[in-house]
Amino acid sequence: MSFNIFICGVGGQGLVLLTNVLGRACLKSGFKAITGEMYGLSQRSGSVSVHMRIGDDAYSPLIPVGEGNVLVALEAIEALRYIEYLKKGGLALVNRRVMHPPVETAGLVRDRSRKYFSLEDVVSRLRRYTGRVAVIDALAAAKEAGNPNTENTVFLGCLSALRELPLDPEKVREAIAEAVPERTVDQNLRAFELGRAAAKEALCGFGVCRD
């Protein structure tokens, strides 16, 4: 059986690097991996997504609808945008960070009575789809690690805490050290550990953690 991770976020958050690290860790662990990456017009601030599939019978680069084991959202609203890819009852790992698109802010300027679509709006709707929603403060963890751009690595830490994900966290660490810019290796490894710790706190109630 393949293990499917749907990763989404906003252009500039480092989804491609996150995917590369996971893929390298798969290779180190002897697993087949294939991805479908979507970042055409989204240099910064557009919606970006990656289908990541691990396992010998993962043929297609795209995850069939409703067959994602985990949905990773580096930005909260994006989790809802791609929710149909998650299995019913699957695990949604969601950044608490909301980046309001300019079109939404424009609406608020035109009509002052309007309100932003909030984290609470996202999470309550996600919970109607799956009972397993974990909200991670990745930006805070990334800042604590010394580099606010390491949110992606925080989520690698979260993923590596999952029992279902057949990857040795040590292999993920090695892959991070190979793939990130040299001067940021230490910050990324710290972000990874903070992500693991955050996941344990947020996820263990669901019984999905390794230890």
């Binding site: 906003v10 055409g40 017009l41 609808v65 409703g66």
Partner: protein, 662 residues
């Protein structure tokens, strides 16, 4: 990208993007000359070759357009050098003039053209099906499904090209180019790059009239030879089914992977025979005939047009006239948009009369949950110079409308295209590279309103120049804004003629746009700094009222490119912040600007995200109260000047850092 995977000498495995695997394949095949004009989804091929340039001995050019890129490769090939170019299939429209004659003239050194279609128009103006170039130009075509196969095919394509003296197209789609996977690395054995002596190689590469007629006959012979070779190609494979007079599947490209996934989910893997074609022009007809003989039905699974389906139907007419052919024509698959595993499952199940897991319930439930959530359109990055240009242009256009004159706005292909998306939604037309200027030449003579056209720097050199010369010569009256952000930004900030650098961060001579326009005879040519919004409004207004061709070059480097250079120089980006005690909330900083870094706080006042702000200062220039300031500065509005002039020491410093990993 992790460069060392691409350049590592040893064998082994690496997890890489298909576009990187293509580069690796070409390097293993000892490619000597590469040339490109960037275009999604192939741009990473250019980028990877550019990064690897320090490691291997090959010649690389970033060309003005795809046609020039193909000609660079053809020239090298005539002298026996293996050469490769890659382009999106709309780029092939530009290059095809040359491709068609190369079919006639033939080539010498292996010439490989990677051509990517973009089903679903993810990052293109159309869903063009580029496969038809191959039969039209009598040029063979290979189609990979995975990164591994793309690498193998590129290597083999060089050999095919040399055996048959013909360019070879390796045709991909976005879901192949932007697919990563585990790739087996082959040995790298590079020959030394040495100039050839034409006098030793001399042969004719020409075609016209009588010569063309003779060569056409030779092309037909070559096609027959290629078809015979492809009958036995390892890129075509048959997955056996249980046999019997059942239904089989013919497929290619990424659709093959969707077919495997669909058969798995339907429990049919190993039960339904599948013919996977890797050589799709010429189609190996005997192989297809052998596959469909005895079958009751054939399902053809492919994206876009019924290219293979027409071939299969024609072959079946002789080989198995009773077989049902299912695909686009039967209505089981659409010619619109890309396929995916679910659409393929649904199509196969409906042909076979099987139950399949209907995903409509999930999709409907998701749709209901998404109600009222905001869209996230592609938009200008924080710090993007286009934001400043358009802020001033919006004001100038409003003034033009208020005067009763009105305008037509022709947009073009580049980051500035995003002005067509909400919340701005401004453009009367947007077609293809450089077309805004051609359209302006036509419209400005037939409508009352002022015609305003926009192109970027890269588009200016690529395809707009002939239309600009046309405007000068014919005394056409319109306003042209050339947005010069120093690089080809949308495809990943590749250098172009407006950059001091070229491939591999080597020196390149800048070709200043304003000099070209003035030399061509344009009489109104102004150069402005994109960030100077207020100062630019009167300049833009004059340009809109000018009786003749008015050219405005709005210049500021792309923010992403600029950020990278700042990082290399060790400069910090200082964000701006709103002084809430001064802000009176007219939202001028948001209107006409719409920056992703801006949000409205709970108290109704604007807030600037320090993580997203690029410190460009444009919003601060819009505020009449001076409430937006650089963090820690404490002074009023900022009026910086352009940053194009830099001293040599700075340049040196950048070059030193150029080899660092991204």
């Amino acid at each position: 990208m992790v460069l060392k995977d691409v350049i590592s000498g040893g064998k082994g495995q690496a997890f890489m993007l298909c576009n990187e695997a293509i580069v690796r394949g070409a390097i293993e095949a000892d490619v000597k000359v590469v040339a490109f004009y960037p275009g999604a989804p192939t741009s990473e091929i250019l980028d990877t070759f550019s990064e690897a340039l320090g490691s291997f001995d090959y010649h690389m050019q970033i060309a003005t357009n795809e046609k020039v890129a193909l000609e660079i490769c053809a020239g090298a090939s005539f002298a026996g050098f293996r050469s490769l170019t890659a382009m999106k299939s709309v780029g092939m429209n530009v290059a095809s003039d040359t491709l068609f004659v190369l079919g006639y003239t033939g080539v010498r050194g292996g010439l490989v053209v990677v051509m990517a279609d973009d089903p679903h128009a993810h990052s293109s103006q159309s869903e063009q099906d580029g496969r038809f170039f191959a039969p039209n130009a009598y040029v063979p075509m290979l189609e990979p499904s995975t990164a591994q196969e793309a690498k193998e095919m590129v290597k083999e394509a060089f050999a095919i090209s040399e055996r048959h003296r013909v360019p070879v197209i390796v045709r991909t789609v976005t879901r192949v180019n932007h697919q990563s996977g585990v790739v087996e690395l082959g040995e790298i054995r590079r020959g030394k790059f040495e100039r050839a002596r034409w006098r030793d190689l001399k042969e004719e590469y020409l075609t016209l009239g009588e010569v063309a007629r003779r060569k056409k006959v030779r092309m037909l012979e070559r096609r027959a030879e290629l078809e015979k070779e492809f009958e036995g190609s390892a890129f075509n494979s048959v997955l056996r089914g249980e046999g019997g007079a059942g239904t089989g599947i013919v497929t290619s490209s990424v659709s093959y992977l969707y077919v495997l996934e669909a058969l798995k989910s339907l429990g049919l893997l190993g039960r339904v025979p599948v013919l996977k074609l890797g050589t799709t022009y010429p189609v190996p007809r005997r192989l297809v005939a052998d596959f469909i003989r005895g079958l009751k039905g054939v399902i053809v699974v492919e994206e876009l047009s019924p290219y293979l389906e027409n071939e299969v139907a024609a072959i079946a007419k002789d080989a198995n006239p009773a077989a049902g052919i299912f695909g686009k024509r039967s209505g089981h698959f659409s010619e619109a948009w890309e396929l995916n595993p679910d659409l393929v499952s649904e199509g196969i199940a409906s042909v076979l009369g099987l139950e399949h897991r209907d995903k409509k319930v999930i999709v409907e439930e998701a749709r209901a949950l998404k109600e009222g959530m905001p869209d996230r359109y592609p938009t200008f990055c924080p710090g993007c110079p286009h934001r400043g240009t358009f802020a001033a242009l919006s004001q100038a256009l409003r003034a033009l409308s208020a005067s009763g004159k009105g305008y037509y706005f022709a947009n073009d292909i580049g980051c500035y295209s995003m002005w067509v998306f909400p919340p701005i939604s401004k453009a009367d037309s947007s077609l293809c590279m450089g077309a805004s200027v051609g359209i302006a030449n036509g419209l400005s003579n037939v409508i009352e309103e002022r015609v305003v056209a926009v192109v970027g720097d890269s588009t200016f050199y690529h395809a707009a120049l002939p239309a600009i010369l046309n405007a000068v010569h014919n005394r056409n009256k319109f306003t042209l804004f050339i947005l010069d952000n120093s690089v080809t930004a949308m495809t990943g900030q590749q250098p172009n003629l407006s950059t001091e650098y070229t491939a591999g961060w080597r020196e390149g001579k800048r070709v200043p746009i304003e000099d070209v326009c003035r030399a061509a005879g344009a009489e109104f040519v102004e150069v402005v700094d994109s960030y100077s919004v207020k100062e630019n409004v009167p300049v833009f207004r004059r340009a809109l009222e000018y009786e003749g061709l008015a050219v405005v070059v709005s210049r500021r480097e792309c923010a992403l490119y600029g950020d990278r250079r700042k990082r290399r120089r060790g400069e910090k980006i200082t964000p701006f912040e709103v002084d809430k005690s001064v802000c009176r909330r007219p939202y001028a900083c948001i209107r006409d600007v719409y920056c992703p870094a801006h949000e409205i706080d709970g108290d109704g006042q604007p807030r600037i995200s320090p993580e997203l702000c690029d410190g460009c200062s444009v919003c601060s220039r819009m505020c009449a109260f001076g409430s937006i300031r650089r963090a820690g500065a404490g002074t009023g509005n900022e009026n910086g000047t352009g940053n194009h002039k830099r001293d040599d020491k700075e340049k040196e410093k950048e070059k030193e850092g150029a080899g660092e990993r991204r």
